[in-house]
């Protein structure tokens, strides 16, 4: 009884709080930082589906994020395409690339699959650097316009924050629900045992392709939003390190869950921005944290997995599931 009440009340309160933020503070920097959290959430939701339910790991999602960002950036900035159209095209293009890439990848498993996504990501990095006419090369693409719908322009940090978080909430709700639908159960069967799933009449190949394309599309969507939110993009953002960080969020969050990755995503994204959350922090502490950010993140990752192999989700559940990953 209590849990059902909490189950409906708490997310509702959460959503209200997210939406109410702009009325509670005017701190522009805080909104920028929270926007990054929302963007990462969108990608992580897709990766969590891919990994947690289809058992696939991708080291290339930063590239899909980049495809979305450059497509939207180029279309809105250079080609003056309306923002909404550009954003949708960007997400669809990323999904399409994901779809095409996943076809030959059906033959691959485990580390070979990871290598294929990694290789794809590195190839895209070279293209981002070399396709100067579209991407601006190493110098990046500047002056990408803010999101706008007709004459209504979203040009404040709080407006962009709301746009990104509303998108993120919609994506998360859909992802959480997909888990409960028939395709979702089929996906989990896929993770559990591919042969078994096939025996039950599930077209595992098609499902794998679909979920890969979906997660690529979500990464593309987040990338498109990132481009218009930040106004500047350059190849280094879409690097292997970012892909790895995204995967780390999912694994740290715990497999077979959307919640855990969400929490891990929020924590890992906020780590370098502690000063935005804890105002009045002495300068020395802030610079110490910035200087040691990578060490802290690495140690936290190791410790969480050492003491809670089920990740954040396992911690929250308090009873680590057996047979993670594999």
């Amino acid at each position: 009884m209590r849990s059902r009440l909490a189950g409906t009340l708490v997310p509702a309160v959460g959503v209200i709080l997210v939406l109410a933020m702009p009325f509670m503070t005017t701190d522009r920097y805080l909104f920028k930082v929270l926007t990054f959290v929302g963007l990462n959430l969108i990608v992580v939701a897709g990766l969590a589906l891919l990994f947690g339910y289809a058992g696939q790991i991708s080291l290339g999602h930063a590239a899909f994020f980049g495809i979305g960002a450059y497509t939207a950036g180029y279309l809105t900035g250079e080609a003056a395409v309306p923002w909404l159209v550009a954003t949708l095209v960007a997400a669809l293009l990323a999904a399409l690339v994901g779809f095409v890439l996943s076809l030959p990848m059906l033959r691959l498993k485990g580390h070979y699959l990871a290598m294929a996504t990694l290789g794809f990501s590195e190839i895209m990095t070279v293209l981002f650097i070399e396709a100067r006419g579209i991407t601006g090369g190493n110098d990046g693409l500047r002056g990408i316009p803010y999101p706008s719908l007709g004459s209504f322009k979203i040009d404040t940090p709080s407006g962009v924050y709301l746009l990104v978080w509303i998108t993120a909430i919609v994506v998360l709700v859909l992802a959480a629900n997909l888990v409960r639908t028939r395709p979702g159960r089929a996906l989990r069967a896929l993770h559990g045992a591919e042969l078994g799933a096939q025996a039950c009449g599930i077209d595992t190949g098609r499902l794998r392709v679909q979920v890969f394309a979906l997660s690529a599309g979500l990464a593309g969507l987040a990338g498109a939003l990132y481009a218009s939110a930040v106004g500047f993009i350059s190849p280094t953002t879409f690097s292997l390190e970012f892909s790895v960080l995204l995967v780390a969020m999912v694994v740290l969050g715990g497999t077979g869950s959307v919640t855990g990755p969400v929490v891990a995503c929020v924590l890992l994204t906020l780590l370098p921005y502690v000063d935005a959350l804890v105002p009045g922090l002495p300068r020395e502490v802030v610079s110490f944290l910035q200087d040691w950010e990578a060490d802290i993140a690495g140690i936290v990752m190791i410790l969480v997995l050492l003491f809670a192999p089920g990740g954040v989700a396992g911690l929250l559940r308090r009873s680590p599931r057996v047979g993670e990953a594999e």
Partner: protein
């Protein structure tokens, strides 16, 4: 399923509590920060590369600024106020530079931004700088920084726009007319590369090979083998990162006897140490800071450069390189303008004061900005160097 939902909910709430509390309290603090009146120090942001490919450039830059900040504050500050420089590391990453400037502008409320170390990183700040109307003084040498004019952006190094023609002319004067170009794909390398190709005809030299490498590459023998096949008189390298030493070594490794000429970005001690023997005879154009006697002993520029070299060597135990000099100049440009601002210094009034800089003697040259020229240096400031006995000497 129930547990899962409860967990989702709990997580969302926890997350929101954190952000809300933080949001509310940070609002409170920003109010108090501005309330203390004129005793507040001048806050200047500095974006330098302390890691990544340009770590070796950003580190001396930070040292030079810290040294000068301490000197000014010990002497009572500017207009009776202390100067506080807030450093951010961009990790040689344009995206990180952009995130850093957002933080400096919106979290730290700086009145000026010094930086960035690199050309790409400098350009990445532009949208935010324009929106905030805060003056920016870059320490990077890409021409694009001031050629793509922006009223808020100034530059202290000698831009490729003047260095490339000077270098090509020096090659021609030495009879090195068949030039093989090797450059990196970073902002500075590409900027220089494009200018070399554009200016070659005017300078009367011929480009016989054109190869590139990526920042982070560790072996260029393949590119140099191609260059070797083109039998050039000289290899002209344009980059500022640590890969320069590898190019020098690879040339030696391939048994090539062709001379190597570089850019001001190679005026670093790490290049000489890294390339070892292969650095001997390496030539490049840069300002006079490496051998201040080039200014002429007793001139104001000589005195400024001598004092800077002495102070820096005393503080850090090594002589400054050209990048420490660019940072010294950038900090000088800002602090000199702060002294001249009438009334309360705002980003806008400071910008106007910087633009009014005229005849300011720095270590990299004498700066004279105008509403059309935000670099303010000419070919006059450049000399040609040669590495000889693991140090720099003038190459006449």
């Amino acid at each position: 399923m129930k547990t899962r939902r409860r967990v989702v909910a709990a997580a969302l709430v926890a997350m929101l509590m954190v952000t809300t509390v933080a949001g509310c309290s940070s609002k409170g603090s920003s109010g108090s920060a501005t309330g203390e009146g004129s005793a507040e120090p001048y806050r200047i942001g500095a974006i330098v590369s302390l890691s990544g490919s340009y770590a070796g450039l950003g580190t001396p830059e930070q040292k030079a600024i810290e040294m000068e900040m301490k000197r000014i504050n010990d002497a009572g500050g500017i207009n009776g106020r202390q100067v506080e420089v807030i450093f951010e590391d961009d990790a040689t990453d344009p995206a990180k530079a952009q995130a850093a400037v957002a933080r400096l502008l919106e979290q730290e409320n700086v009145i000026a931004v010094i930086g960035a170390t690199g050309t790409s990183q400098t350009m990445a700040l532009r949208d935010d700088i324009d929106r905030a109307g805060v003056p920016q003084v870059s320490m990077a040498g890409g021409s694009v920084i001031t050629a793509e004019f922006d009223k808020n952006v100034f530059q202290t190094p000698w831009p490729n726009r003047i260095v490339v023609p000077f270098t090509l002319k020096a090659l021609k004067d030495r009879g090195l007319v068949n030039v093989a170009v090797i450059s990196d794909t970073g902002g500075y390398g590409k900027d220089g590369h494009d200018l070399i190709l554009k200016d070659a005809d005017t300078a009367g030299v011929k480009i016989v090979a054109d190869e590139t490498f990526n920042p982070g590459d560790t072996d260029m023998t393949a590119q140099l083998t191609k260059i070797k096949a083109a039998s050039p008189d000289v290899v002209l390298m344009w980059n500022a990162g640590k890969e320069a030493a590898i190019v020098a070594k690879n040339i030696k490794q391939l048994g090539m006897s062709v001379p190597l000429v570089g850019s001001p970005g190679n005026g670093r001690r790490e290049f000489i140490e890294g390339a070892g023997d292969a650095a001997e005879g390496f030539r490049f154009a840069a300002g006079k800071i490496l051998v201040p006697e080039a200014y002429g002993e007793g001139t104001p520029a000589f005195e400024v450069a001598q004092k800077f070299i002495a102070d820096y060597s005393f503080a850090y135990g090594v002589a400054p390189d050209i990048f420490a000099g660019h940072a010294f100049d950038a900090f000088l440009v800002v602090t000199d303008a702060l002294k001249r601002v009438e009334g309360e210094a705002t980003p806008a009034s400071l910008r106007d004061a910087i633009e009014a800089t005229d005849g300011l003697v720095g270590v990299g040259g004498t700066f004279a900005y105008s509403p059309e020229d935000h670099n303010g240096l000419t070919e006059e400031e450049l000399v040609f160097y040669r590495v000889d006995g693991a140090t720099w000497v003038l190459d006449k």
